[in-house]
């Protein structure tokens, strides 16, 4: 009995040491490749008129079926007293978090961050549809695509437009230029300049997700107690 106890302790110790060594080597592997681009999007809520041209364009370009959506504009209001009434329009779409909960929880690695672009993508083939990412996303922007049965969401039009050198469909279709898309690592890009000089904010920053969807909040507000 004593011998087998010793054997068990030795075995368990070796297993733990092996696991921690494996984790340590993985950790150093992870930190090394620096991404070449870090795409980000800025939504200026003061310019947005809530026309939904962006949501229509997104649906058409990415062939998003009815009933689900990659992009929504949420309208709140009216705020204020007649005749000075305003509406707020908030963009709801994938925030392309630097530290994405969906990527962390995905059991197969189907949800992943593209190291080249910083875009959070879905490998449709690897996805088994466990819904863990949909539950984990604090921004509630992921859904099951009715045709592929895989998780789906905004990918900044990576497949449909970025690969052809075009801007995302929502950015191009916006009649008031409320959306600015660009590379955060390029100090000359418009999005970099705006993020540096404007009072931008991001949703649920306290969760430590570091989202890359920046927002300039609507100037006219209302105090609700």
């Amino acid at each position: 009995m004593d011998k087998s106890k010793r054997f068990f302790l030795k075995g368990a110790g070796a297993l733990l040491a092996g696991m921690s060594a494996y984790q340590a080597t993985r950790a150093s592997e992870h930190s090394s490749p620096a991404s070449q681009r870090k795409y980000a999007l800025l939504h200026d809520e003061n310019r947005c008129i809530g026309c939904d041209a962006c949501t229509q364009a997104c649906r058409e370009v990415n062939q998003v079926p009815e009933g689900v959506s990659r992009l929504e504009i949420v309208r709140t209001g009216p705020h204020g007293e007649y005749p000075n009434q305003t509406y707020h329009f908030e963009r709801q779409s994938c925030q392309h978090c630097e530290n994405a909960p969906c990527v962390n929880v995905c059991p197969t690695g189907a949800a992943y961050k593209d190291p080249q672009t910083g875009i959070i993508k879905v490998d449709e083939w690897k996805c088994v549809g466990c819904l863990y990412c949909i539950a984990a996303c604090p921004y509630k922007v992921r859904f099951i695509h009715p045709v592929t049965r895989a998780a789906d969401k905004c990918d900044f039009c990576e497949q449909t437009r970025l690969s052809k050198g075009e801007l995302p469909a929502c950015v191009t279709s916006c009649p008031t230029q409320a959306l600015v898309f660009g590379d955060l690592l390029d100090t000359q890009s418009g999005v970099y300049q705006l993020v540096r000089t404007q009072p931008v904010s991001r949703d649920k920053e306290s969760l430590g997700t570091s989202p890359k969807l920046f927002k300039i909040r609507a100037a006219k507000g209302e105090v609700i107690l």
């Binding site: 054997f7 368990a12 929880v105 088994v128």
Partner: protein
């Protein structure tokens, strides 16, 4: 608000049943090990309660995994979870624990039933006896690892939900402890219920042994539930709101106070204390108490899963 359909609901009751079955499997093998080494000894395999636990452990985990696979949007692609791993994903780690758990559980079961198995297969399949004889020297390691893996599996069912940052009720460090405790007590209750149904004597020393552990287990469960919600209330903000939505008026409030605290914990605790104090244990007492415990655990899984998704950050 409809208690089973609301905004933000991602995971439905099949997941709660899976969590219940995985916890029960872990608890059953845990109590089988306790019975074997601290109550019955070498002849443990003859006990109907040990046999019941040994039936529940594999059947519950397979049923649970079956439900999990059917609940995927692509059930036929389930094998990809077994091929591709993400060491950061609680679900992926859980799948690893589940696989290793099954290996060690079957090794332990084989050793438990080594004597009858060797006798039965002596003439036709002598290699089974040889294999069991080869396994025998490693019994202590196999038992230890099965124990650790069963506790890991029980806690994993809680970690799976507590890893979700957007739900303030679920994202709670006490949840794995709560699910582990209630999983263990569901394993004990399952073994008792199936044991007496398999004609195990309700007055046997196995029943007394399990009841003696169940009483402190229920008290710890009550303490952990209290800590769980006290933690939410004291955190304030969205966590306070989530606790209010869960425990307040409405369907799930009734389930919590009446079903979980009342029928699932207080009643079995009172019955266990009564049976410990009185001389005789009867079939109806043991079966009823165990059924109430199982009901309580099943309700707790559903309660946590649904109310957890009711409040979002």
């Amino acid at each position: 608000m409809n208690p089973f359909h609301f905004d933000g609901l991602v995971w439905h009751w099949p997941i709660a049943i899976y969590l219940f079955l995985a916890g029960m499997s872990a608890g059953a093998i845990f109590f089988a090990i306790l019975l074997r080494y601290f109550c019955l000894g070498q002849d443990a395999w003859k006990s109907n309660f040990v046999r019941a636990a040994c039936l529940i452990a594999p059947l519950a985990i397979w049923a649970g995994l079956g439900i999990l696979v059917i609940d995927l949007t692509k059930p036929f692609d389930f094998w990809k979870i077994l091929v591709f791993y993400n060491p950061l994903s609680v679900m992926s780690l859980g799948v690893m624990v589940l696989m290793v758990f099954q290996v060690f559980m079957f090794a332990w079961l084989a050793l438990l039933f080594a004597r009858p198995l060797t006798r039965l297969t002596a003439s036709r399949m002598p290699f089974i006896g040889k294999f069991l004889a080869w396994l025998k020297p490693h019994e202590a390691s196999i038992t230890g690892l099965t124990m650790i893996l069963s506790l890991s599996l029980g806690a994993y069912t809680g970690f799976l939900l507590s890893a979700l940052p957007g739900y303030p009720l679920l994202n709670n460090p006490v949840l794995p402890v709560l699910f582990l405790m209630s999983g263990l007590s569901s394993g004990a209750a399952g073994a008792l219920l199936l044991g007496v149904l398999m004609k195990g004597r309700p007055d046997s020393k196995e029943v007394k042994f399990i009841h003696k552990i169940e009483i402190p287990l229920i008290l710890i469960e009550l303490l952990v539930i209290f800590t769980f919600f006290a933690g939410l209330v004291l955190s304030g903000g969205a966590k306070l709101e989530a606790a209010g939505n869960a425990l307040g008026q409405g369907f799930w409030g009734w389930i919590f106070w009446g079903g979980i605290i009342g029928l699932g914990l207080s009643l079995p605790l009172a019955m266990n204390l009564f049976m410990t104090a009185s001389a005789q244990r009867r079939f109806s007492y043991v079966a009823f108490t165990a059924s109430m415990s199982l009901l309580g655990v099943l309700l707790l899984r559903n309660f946590i899963l649904y109310t957890g998704q009711m409040t979002m950050l």
